[in-house]
Point group: C2
Chain length 190, copies 2
DNA sequence: GATTTTACTTACTAGTTAGTAAGTTGTCAA
DNA sequence: TTGACAACTTACTAACTAGTAAGTAAAATC
């Protein structure tokens, strides 16, 4: 028995990567197993069903995001730096083999994924929006952001455009994604 | 033999609907066949491969869009009415059982769909952007739209946010999509 | 040192997938 | 009336899907 160090985490990393690359219906246990050099059943040992695997990936991402935003490195940033930190997450995804965000990938296939997974996606999306909204309100109050309407609506617009922008870049290239980010800033920063 | 009227078109309608609902990897020939009350092979008779089917759906959509924008009913509209016409397409998709746009659905699964289909998606996306860009430029020149930066970038932002907004609405409800559209207008219209 | 637990493998199942080959039947043109 | 053709059905295949049950070997625990 060749023991792989931290199999569970390695499987989750690969599953997350495959979700962002091929979508939930676009990868199989066999893909993960062959990439890890183990058998299908080994994946089922750690994650009995694909639903379990998907949910755990999202839960881990939610935990990660919560840790980040509550860490002083992000929490104590000025609004404009918070914005750039957030945009950087998406820019990094694009740079990493043209990945898209988990939320976008799973919402595009929303009606063909398990219900509990839908619930996890909903929760994650709400958490992202809540943070964005608070950051926008903070920045507007501080006079560094300028926009009409509610912070909640502006947050929804920004997140949607990042989500769509990553997908667009797959067909039209990274430059188009950069255009979206730049325009986003032009429409926000004083 | 019970002849279904215009089978080919009926199959295309169903395939388009399934693409927008479940994604390319989320539906099968069996789904289409059972819904139409025919056998699998009947679908293969009209569209030998799933790749053919997908491509034909996109080609038809491209033709339709070309017809629309070249028709006087749209062509001769004022920029603001052109905008509302375009936004209406997406609002209607949302109203129709929470569908997402074809481009978004296929780009989310971009790395697990056939290459020729990727090409069709790219072409459609470019055509949508080109029309949007021209409309934005026209509106800005006419003084009804106001935005910084290039029309191409603003077009990319708007289309991305509509694409992402439809997906977001699946998890968070139609109100969130309306918020995106409203914010979009606030950020554009004088 | 014995026993339990962890992390697998082997071997399998039942269902689904896209796709094919050969036959059938109604329609239409010559 | 015959023959071609369109639009299927029947019957099949090979590959892949998630998932399971039983066995195995090393490591941790007692």
């Amino acid at each position: 028995m060749v023991k792989i160090e931290n199999s569970k985490r390695t499987i989750l990393n690969l599953a997350e990567s495959l979700l962002q690359d091929k979508g939930f219906n676009g990868f199989s246990y066999a893909h993960i197993a062959s990439e890890l050099g183990v058998k299908n059943a080994a994946i089922h040992y750690h994650f009995p069903s694909k639903e379990d695997l998907g949910c755990t990936v999202i839960q881990r991402y939610r935990d990660r995001f919560k840790l980040w935003i509550n860490n002083a490195r992000v929490k104590d940033l000025a609004p404009i730096d918070k914005l750039n930190w957030f945009l950087g997450i998406y820019t990094d995804m694009r740079a990493d083999k043209g990945k898209v965000c988990l939320v976008g990938s799973l919402e595009a296939e929303f009606n063909s994924i398990p219900e509990v997974l839908q619930g996890e996606v909903e929760a994650l999306h709400k958490e992202l929006l809540a943070w964005l909204q608070a950051m926008l309100a903070e920045g507007r109050d501080a006079g560094v952001f300028n926009f009409n309407g509610e912070p909640a609506s502006k947050a929804a617009l920004i997140l949607s455009s990042l989500q769509g922008g990553l997908q667009m870049a797959r067909a039209l290239g990274t430059k188009k994604f950069r255009d979206v980010v730049e325009q986003l800033k032009l429409d926000l920063i004083v």
